[in-house]
C-alpha cells in the first residue's frame, strides 16, 4: 500500500451519497429542445460555425474553439438549429449568454464517426487534436479544456498521471456510478492519456474510501496495467486538484503554479471516460453523467444526460415537487450555486442537480458577528487565515488580501460550513477576488490609455514641427521669388502686376510636362478667340446704336482680347518648338 499524506483542515459533512446509488445509470427521453451555451468550459466562448435553420446531425460540430483556452461544442442529437441567441444559462449570476438551440427531430441520427481504435499507433499530437476536436473539458466541475491540460506534456516531461475519482462533495455520485458500471472504459481512457503523455512512470487513481464498490471495480480492471488505485479516508475537500496531489504524492503545488510545473497531470475519471469515447468510438463530448438528488425529487438517481438538456426536463421526469423544494442547486451543497430558473440547460460541468427540501438544506440563517473562535482556520484546506481574510475583505484592503494569499483560496466552503456565526465567508472572498481582478484590469487599461495619450502628444508635436518647417520653407521660397522678380517685371512696374506675373510664372513652372502646357495653352487660345469674337460682335452692336464712350470701351476690350490671342499664339509656338 502506497503512503498517503494528510491534508490540513477539511470537514466531514454528511455524505448523503447512498440515496442516488440505489439505481443504475438512467436515461431520459429525448427532450424537445436542446440549448447549448457557447461557454461550457473555463476560458473564452466557442465560435458558432452553424447558422439558424441548418440541419445538424448528432455529433456534428456546432461551435469551434476560439484561440487560447476554449473548447468546441457539438450537437447532442440531430435536428434543426432554431436559434443562436442569448439565453439564460447555469451561472451564479443568473445572466444570459450566447446559446445555440437545437429542435430535435427525434431521429437521433449520428454523423459519420472517425475513430482510432488503434490509438497506440497515433502520435501524441494526433491524439491531442482528436481530444480538442471532441470538445472535452474537465468533467469534475471546473471545466478546464483537457487538450490544453494535456499540452503541458510537450513542455515538461510528465512523470505522474493522477486520475481524480475522489468525488468528495456530498450528494454527488456521478463518478462513483460511472466507475462501478464502466471501469473498463475509464481504464482505456487512462491508457490513451498515458500513451499521449509518453507513458508516465506513475499512474495513480485517487479515490475516497467511502466508495468500496468502485474501488473493487477499479482494482479488478487495473490488474496488470501498472495503474495503482489509492484510496484514503473520506474528508471534504480531498478532491481539490492540489489537495489530491498532496494526499497522493506529498508534494505541494506552489502558489501560482500548475501541477504540470511539477511534472504532473491530474484528470477527472469522467474526463478519462470521455477521452476513451472520443478516441476509440469517435464520439465527441455530448453527454455526461449527472446526479439528481434531494428530497424534492421523487427519484434520486444518476442519469446519462445529453448536454443541453433543460434542467426542467430532468426534474419533471422525476416527479419533482416544487412546493417541497427550497431551491435548485447546480453542483453540490458545498460549492454549487442556486439556479435562477429551471429552464437553464445542463452543461459539461454539471455534476449534480440538487433539489433539497427546506429541512434538508435550510435557508441561510442571518450572520452573527465573528467571535474569533478560529474554527475556520482549522478547517481551511489551503492553510489560509479565513478570519483575517474576512476582515480585510470587509475593509477592502486589497494589498493585505493579496499578501495573505487570497488567490490560493479554492472556495471550497469549509470555512463557511464550520462558522458558528453563519458568516458567508466564501462570498466575501469571491467578491474580493472579483474586486482585485477588476482593479488589476482597470490598471492595465489605464496603462494602455496612458501610452496612447502620450503617443498622441508626440504625434501632435511632430505634426506641429512639420507644419512649422513647411511654413518656413514657403516663406523662404517667396523671398527668393521676390529677389528674382525685379528683373522680370520691370516693364509693368506696379507691385500688383508683379505678384500676378510671379503667380503666372509659378503656374507655368508648376506644369509638369510640355504636353500639358501645350494643351493648356491651346485651351486658353480657344477661350481667347471666343472672347475676341464676342467682343467684336458687341463692338458692331455698339457702333450701330451706342454712345461714343461705349464705343471706346468696346474698342479697348476688343484690343485686349486680340492681344491675349496673339500672346497665347506666340507662347504656343514657343512651347511647340
Amino acid at each position: 500500500m502506497r503512503q498517503i499524506w494528510n491534508t490540513p483542515g477539511g470537514v466531514h459533512p454528511p455524505d448523503n451519497k447512498e440515496q442516488s446509488l440505489t439505481k443504475n445509470i438512467g436515461h431520459l427521453p429525448l427532450p424537445e429542445k436542446l440549448i447549448l451555451p457557447l461557454t461550457q468550459h473555463a476560458g473564452t466562448a466557442a465560435k458558432a460555425c452553424v447558422v439558424v435553420g441548418e440541419k445538424v446531425l448528432k455529433g456534428q460540430k456546432l461551435a469551434s474553439a476560439s484561440a487560447g483556452i476554449s473548447a468546441a461544442v457539438h450537437a447532442p442529437s440531430s435536428g434543426w438549429i432554431t436559434a443562436i441567441e442569448e439565453r439564460s444559462v447555469a451561472h451564479p449570476s443568473g445572466m444570459s449568454a450566447a446559446c445555440i438551440e437545437i429542435t430535435c427531430d427525434g431521429e437521433d441520427r449520428w454523423i459519420e464517426r472517425v475513430s482510432y481504435p488503434n490509438y497506440q499507433q497515433a502520435s501524441a499530437m494526433q491524439l491531442r487534436d482528436l481530444i480538442a476536436d471532441a470538445g472535452i473539458a474537465g468533467l469534475g466541475g471546473a471545466g478546464f479544456p483537457s487538450a490544453i491540460k494535456l499540452d503541458s506534456g510537450t513542455k515538461k516531461p510528465i512523470d505522474t498521471l493522477i486520475i481524480n475519482a475522489t468525488e468528495c462533495e456530498p450528494y454527488i455520485t456521478a463518478d462513483d456510478i460511472l466507475i462501478r458500471e464502466r471501469a473498463d472504459q475509464i481504464i482505456q481512457g487512462i491508457d490513451i492519456v498515458s500513451h499521449l503523455l509518453g507513458k508516465p512512470k506513475t499512474i495513480l487513481i485517487g479515490i475516497e474510501n467511502n466508495k468500496p464498490e468502485a474501488i473493487a471495480a477499479l482494482n479488478q480492471h487495473c490488474q496488470g496495467t501498472g495503474i495503482e488505485v489509492v484510496y484514503f479516508p473520506t474528508k471534504y475537500p480531498s478532491g481539490g486538484e492540489k489537495q489530491l496531489i498532496y494526499i497522493l504524492t506529498g508534494k505541494e503545488v506552489p502558489s501560482g503554479q500548475l501541477p504540470a510545473d511539477l511534472g504532473m497531470v491530474c484528470l477527472n475519471s469522467g474526463t478519462a471516460f470521455a477521452i476513451k469515447r472520443a478516441v476509440i468510438d469517435g464520439e465527441p463530448l455530448i453527454s455526461r453523467i449527472t446526479t439528481l438528488a434531494g428530497e424534492a425529487c421523487g427519484v434520486n438517481r444518476n442519469y446519462e444526460i445529453l448536454i443541453g438538456t433543460p434542467v426542467s426536463h430532468l426534474i419533471q421526469h422525476n416527479n419533482f415537487n416544487q412546493a417541497l423544494c427550497s431551491r435548485l442547486i447546480m453542483g453540490g451543497p458545498m460549492m454549487g450555486f442556486s439556479l435562477a430558473s429551471s429552464e437553464v440547460p445542463l452543461i459539461k460541468t454539471s455534476t449534480c442537480i440538487l433539489a433539497p427540501s427546506h429541512t434538508e438544506i435550510p435557508d441561510d440563517e442571518p450572520p452573527q458577528p465573528c467571535i474569533r473562535c478560529g474554527l475556520c482556520s482549522e478547517a481551511c484546506p489551503a492553510s489560509l487565515l479565513p478570519q483575517q481574510l474576512y476582515w480585510y475583505s470587509r475593509a477592502k484592503d486589497h494589498e493585505r488580501l493579496q499578501s495573505h494569499n487570497l488567490f490560493d483560496c479554492i472556495e471550497c466552503g469549509a470555512c463557511s460550513y464550520v462558522c458558528p456565526s453563519n458568516i458567508p465567508l466564501v462570498q466575501y472572498y469571491r467578491s474580493s477576488k472579483g474586486d482585485i481582478t477588476n482593479a488589476l484590469a482597470t490598471k492595465a487599461t489605464a496603462a494602455i490609455s496612458r501610452e496612447r495619450f502620450e503617443f498622441r502628444q508626440v504625434r501632435l508635436e511632430k505634426a506641429d514641427i512639420a507644419r512649422e518647417s513647411k511654413r518656413e520653407a514657403r516663406r523662404l521660397n517667396t523671398e527668393q521669388a521676390k529677389k528674382m522678380s525685379p528683373s522680370t517685371t520691370q516693364s509693368t512696374g506696379s507691385s500688383a502686376a508683379d505678384i500676378i506675373k510671379a503667380a503666372q510664372l509659378r503656374g507655368i513652372t508648376k506644369q509638369a510636362s510640355p504636353e500639358q502646357q501645350k494643351a493648356k495653352l491651346q485651351r486658353t487660345l480657344l477661350a481667347a478667340q471666343m472672347r475676341l469674337e464676342e467682343a467684336q460682335q458687341r463692338l458692331v452692336q455698339v457702333t450701330n446704336k451706342g454712345s461714343a464712350d461705349q464705343q471706346a470701351q468696346q474698342l479697348a476690350s476688343v484690343e485686349a482680347a486680340r492681344r491675349k490671342v496673339e500672346q497665347t499664339t506666340q507662347r504656343l509656338t514657343e512651347v511647340s518648338h
Binding site: 461557454t39 444559462v89 451561472h91 451564479p92 449570476s93 445572466m95 444570459s96 449568454a97 442571518p366 450572520p367 452573527q368 458577528p369 465573528c370 467571535i371 474569533r372 476582515w391 475583505s393 470587509r394 475593509a395 456565526s421 458568516i423 458567508p424 462570498q427 466575501y428 469571491r430 467578491s431 474580493s432 477576488k433 472579483g434 474586486d435 481582478t437 477588476n438 482597470t442 490598471k443 489605464a446 496603462a447 494602455i448 490609455s449 496612458r450 496612447r452 495619450f453 502620450e454 503617443f455 498622441r456 502628444q457
Partner: protein, 202 residues
C-alpha cells in the same frame, strides 16, 4: 621612485590623498550619470494611480500634468473619474488624510463609453481631433466610429460634434465581467461585548 616617496613622507601622503580624491570623484561622477533619475519619481507614482481618462475635468490637460501639479502641492481631490478610491490611494501614497471629492470638478459617475450613431455622422473629424487617446476611427466625409476597448469615457468628443450624434452609454455588464457581490453587512465585524452588537471595527 619608491625611495623618493619613502624619503618624503609628506609627498607620499599628498599623492595618496590626491589619488584617492580623483578615484572617488570619478566614481561619484560615473554613478551620477549612470543612476540618474530622469523625472520626479513621485510624479510617476501619482500618474500610475490616476485613472488615465485624460478627461481634463481636474483643469489640467491630461492625467500627467495633474500628477505633476499634485506633486507641486495641488489638492488631490480633483479627479471625478478616479473617485474616492483614487483619492484614498493618493492620500495613502503621500501619507496625508483623504479629503472627499471636490464637487466643483464633477461627480463620481458610473463609467461610460462613447458611441457614435453612425447613420447621423457627417464625417467632420471634429471628434477625432478631440479624442485624447486616438480611440475614434474615421476620415473626412466618411463615417466615424469609436474603438470601444480604447475609449476612456472622457466625454471630450461629445461637445465638438456639430450634429450631436455621440452618446455616452454606460458599460453593459455581461456574464464574463460579472462578479460576486459582497454580502450585505447585517452583523458587526467582531463581537466585542456580551450583546455583541456594538462598534464596527472596519
Amino acid at each position: 621612485m619608491m625611495s623618493l616617496l619613502t624619503d618624503n613622507t609628506m609627498l607620499a601622503a599628498l599623492l595618496a590623498l590626491v589619488g584617492l580624491g580623483t578615484l572617488f570623484g570619478g566614481l561619484l561622477g560615473y554613478a551620477a550619470e549612470k543612476f540618474k533619475v530622469g523625472s520626479d519619481p513621485i510624479v510617476q507614482q501619482l500618474d500610475e494611480l490616476l485613472p488615465q481618462t485624460q478627461c481634463g475635468q481636474c483643469g489640467f490637460p491630461g492625467c500627467r500634468p495633474y500628477a505633476q501639479s499634485i506633486a507641486d502641492g495641488d489638492a488631490i481631490n480633483k479627479c471625478p473619474p478616479g473617485g474616492q478610491s483614487t483619492i484614498n490611494a493618493i492620500a495613502n501614497l503621500l501619507d496625508i488624510s483623504a479629503p472627499s471629492l471636490d464637487e466643483e470638478h464633477g461627480e463620481e459617475e458610473i463609467r461610460t463609453i462613447a458611441y457614435i450613431r453612425e447613420d447621423e455622422c457627417i464625417g467632420c473629424t471634429k471628434c477625432i481631433q478631440a479624442c485624447p487617446v486616438d480611440a475614434i476611427l474615421g476620415a473626412a466625409k466618411l463615417m466615424h466610429t469609436v474603438i470601444a476597448d480604447e475609449c476612456t469615457g472622457c466625454d471630450l468628443c461629445v461637445e465638438p460634434c456639430p450634429v450631436d450624434c455621440i452618446d455616452m452609454l454606460p458599460i453593459v455588464e455581461n456574464i464574463h465581467q460579472w462578479q460576486w457581490s459582497a454580502p450585505e453587512h447585517s452583523a458587526d465585524l467582531i463581537a466585542t461585548t456580551a450583546s455583541g452588537m456594538h462598534e464596527d471595527a472596519a
